[in-house]
């Protein structure tokens, strides 16, 4: 439990993947977003497919947009989503 992150999906990604959140175990020292991404892609082909179809995938860690090199620590909230289309 202490080494888990919450992963969220929004909009088209949420629909394609068929779920809106996951709980994922990561190393206690953390991992870059890119490594977490590959981990969940391997675990679920629906995620791999949805991400592959989304060339401009965005990621937020603890509700702040970040690059994929950003480190994710246990307890963080990580959200993947397509480019935003508000306004």
């Amino acid at each position: 439990m202490a080494d888990r992150v919450t992963v969220l999906f929004f909009a088209a990604l949420r629909e394609q993947i068929g779920q809106e959140s996951l709980s994922v175990t990561i190393p206690a020292g953390g991992v870059p977003v890119q490594v977490l991404r590959e981990q969940i892609e391997k675990a679920d082909p629906a995620i791999a497919l949805a991400f592959a179809e989304q060339p401009r995938l965005r990621v937020a860690v603890n509700q702040t947009l970040v690059p994929f090199e950003q480190m994710v620590q246990p307890g963080d909230e990580v959200a993947f989503f397509p480019p935003m289309t508000g306004g």
Partner: protein
């Protein structure tokens, strides 16, 4: 200086919001406003606005405070609706008050350009024939946001 940010399902009252900005300070000489609404055409009947609760409010707050500092505003208001909105319905209210018109108008453009691609909202279109479709992000919107200076990754 006053910042007012809301994410809500209910309609907003553009008139009351404009009046509030006008009345904030006797140093205000101009108020700029932009209202975005659901544009009809091609059989579109409604849009559904999804968002990322928590991050949405934080993004809008940060954006509003950035505009206040950058353009020396006397007030700034951002209201964004979520949920299902039919053709003609208001989606977003952006307002900026300042001593002079230049700052008020430039801030209004800055706020809507940045909001479009920098706050976690997503639109799904709904057509008369039953078809639904997520709106694709437009490169031109991302260019407009970037033109105000680098911000998003």
């Amino acid at each position: 200086m006053s910042v007012h940010v809301r994410v809500q399902a209910e309609p907003f009252d553009a008139g009351a919001q404009t009046a509030r900005l006008s009345a904030l300070s006797t140093h205000t000489g101009g108020v700029g406003v932009f209202v975005g609404q659901v544009r009809g055409g091609h059989g579109l009947i409604a849009m559904t606005l999804e968002h990322y609760p928590g991050m949405t409010e934080a993004s809008l707050n940060m954006l509003a405070h950035e505009a206040v500092a950058r353009f020396a505003l006397t007030g700034c208001t951002l209201i964004h609706r979520v949920g299902r909105l039919e053709v003609g319905a208001g989606i977003v209210f952006v307002g900026a008050s300042a001593p002079h018109r230049g700052a008020a108008l430039t801030a209004t453009s800055f706020l809507i350009d940045r909001l479009k691609t920098g706050a976690p909202f997503w639109k799904r279109e709904e057509y008369a024939d039953g078809r639904t479709q997520w709106v694709d992000a437009r490169e031109t919107d991302e260019d407009a946001a970037r033109a105000w200076g680098l911000k998003n990754p």
